[in-house]
């Protein structure tokens, strides 16, 4: 339990750091890029909305930085991330909550599949060193060096088209209304196949490699030799003794590299015009919609932190040594 508490404390600290970074970034921009935009919408904005933007971007230079910081936190606790410039009357939290489920479904599911698949193949590659799977390694290296978005471009070019089964953009058929019914769900799945495949292909190789290397290291340990000497079946030694121990660093690696993976997958969304956070971020960057950008960064960071916490709990269940202390 102590371990878990420590981790939670660490994530709270990290969240605080991310929010503080988010507070300072707009204040470091020389000049007021927001002010001109504010002027443009002045007639249509309520005074409340303007106040909230003032707090978010530190335009009220009279207030001390400390009181600005306190106001900023107060606003965050109310879930107020300001107004989006591009989706004007809508607030940032509204826009983000529309896009978030798409990203969570696409990125979450593909990342888990990729982790499981990659770890499985890695176990094989590490255990059967010198077999045909070793020949797979250069290919996976090449695939992991390709940027996610370029693979997406290639996938669209080769597989998608007017007559193809795979749609080249969007998250669902244009005419449909998002709902849990028999028209929308198949369409959404069909649209997510190609992006998911892209993410899978480019992220799986990392897991294969790290798991292979761990397996190779573990396979030389004495307890593996003992297990063989006991006459256990090859399969049992590979899965129950070697893979189980090799998995531990891979799980903690999973937690740590989530940030990298999420970054890459956001780009796949951009290429496929998938209605998730990545595409939203892309549009926000293009339109210089600062409140939206900051909101997206916060939401992504918090999601990654939560995913990390889950990975830590999984680690806790896998590794008895961490449980012993508490």
């Amino acid at each position: 339990m102590r371990y878990l508490l420590q981790r939670i404390l660490f994530y709270v600290f990290t969240a605080w750091a991310a929010i503080t970074i988010n507070f300072f970034i707009p204040r470091m921009i020389p000049g007021d890029p927001v002010k001109s935009l504010l002027a443009r919408f002045q007639g249509q904005m309520s005074t409340d909305a303007i106040d909230s933007l003032y707090v978010l971007f530190g335009l009220d230079k009279d207030a001390s930085i400390w009181s600005q910081y306190l106001d900023y936190w107060k606003q965050l606790f109310h879930g107020d991330l300001g107004l989006s410039f591009t989706a004007f009357p809508a607030s940032v939290s509204q826009v983000i909550s529309d896009a978030l489920p798409w990203t969570v479904a696409l990125v979450g599911i593909t990342t888990i599949i990729s982790f499981l698949l990659g770890t499985g193949l890695g176990v094989l590659a590490g255990w059967r060193r010198g077999s045909w799977i070793d020949g797979l390694l250069p290919t996976t290296t090449f695939l992991s060096s390709v940027p996610y978005f370029w693979l997406g471009l290639l996938a669209i070019y080769l597989l998608a088209g007017p007559d193809s089964f795979f749609p080249s953009s969007g998250g669902y058929e244009p005419g449909l209304v998002p709902a849990w019914d028999q028209y929308f769900i198949p369409s959404a799945i069909q649209h997510s196949l190609l992006p998911a495949l892209t993410i899978l292909i480019s992220s799986v190789s990392g897991w294969i490699l790290s798991m292979r290397n761990m397996m190779v290291t573990v396979a030389a340990e004495d307890y593996i030799t003992v297990a063989h000497a006991k006459g256990l079946s090859e399969r049992r030694v590979a899965l129950g003794y070697a893979a189980r121990n090799a998995l531990l660093p891979n799980v903690s690696g999973f937690a740590l590299s989530l940030g990298f993976i999420v970054g890459g997958t956001l780009l796949v969304e951009i290429v496929f015009s998938y209605p998730g956070l990545g595409f939203l971020l892309f549009r926000a960057v293009g339109a210089k919609d600062y409140p939206l950008m900051q909101g997206i960064f916060l939401v992504i960071t918090i999601s990654v932190l939560v995913a990390n916490l889950i990975a830590d709990i999984a680690y806790l269940m896998l590794d008895p040594r961490t449980r012993k202390e508490g």
């Binding site: 988010n22 921009i29 660093p249 970054g263």
Partner: protein, 361 residues
Amino acid sequence: MTIPTSSVEQVIPGQGAMAQPEPAKPGRARRKRFRFVANGKALTGLIVLGLYLLFAIIGPWVAPYDPDARGPALTAPPSADHWFGTTHLGQDILSQVLVGTRGVMLVGLAAGALATILSVLIGVTAGYLGGGWDDSLSALSNVFLVIPALPLIIIVTAAAPGGGDTLVALIIGFTSWAWGARVLRAQTLSLRRREYVEAARANGESTWRIIIFEILPNLTAIIASGFVGTVIFAVTSEITLAFIGIGSVSSWNWGTILFWAQSQQALAQGAWWWFVPAGLAIAFLGTALSLINFGIDEFVSPRLRSAGKTKIKTASGRTVRMRVGFTPVLSNSSAPHTHARPIPVNTAAATPVNRSKEATQ
């Protein structure tokens, strides 16, 4: 991402507590370096990287056209005049790729160098000094590790005015040092208790002298591999930034080419020559750097080398897989596993062994 499983122990075996602990003798170091290059993966990677560096230097001079100059052939497929085809404005794509190499390599190497310096400073300090330094510096690097780097880089670069390659390199460098720092800290922790470090401390050498002359040389492999890894990350991030249209849009790099290809609907027009060369250039650079990293990893920890041919056919036609530390056992056979035949015992001629006689001889 590869989890580094390497350990420095194999590099310098048994450097005991000598009066003058030298990291390695020069002759031995030379032989080791030669062995590193002899590693096929590392050699391939170095050659490809060398080619890229060459084009980074001479690219703008050997480019057949000015990358901005418009030509009469619009969105033309590859031909003798334009090897990689042209853009919607008739610009030569080969020239754009060649001219862009310099920007990509400069930002990648600069950001990689900056991140490596930061990771060495932070990781080694945390690992060696321990205590409060360690706690705060590890917390700092863990925070940077967990915060998704790319979105952070995107919002910082979007907020910064002007853009430009230097700024992009700085931002990437300052956000991507954490992984290296973590690995270095772990390794320093195990090094600082070695006997030769204790001996240096007992001699009264200053902390900084110990770190620079006793610890750092033994971390070279890890630092190098961290540097290469960061360069890969920096190159990808930089190209990503250009691809989504922030950072250096005015100067050419491969991301800019992809940005124009994407925004001018190259895909819908079937203009594959527009985005394939730039993407392949990135992929080959990344592969070359990864290969160098594998070379370093395998150099440090020989176990990771992919074994050669491990399957062997025995005379009786069975296949046996050889593994380190194991005697192959032929399964599914009732016959004994050795070629030894039972020795026929001739009872008539049996001679008892006289042990006492043996002992006296």
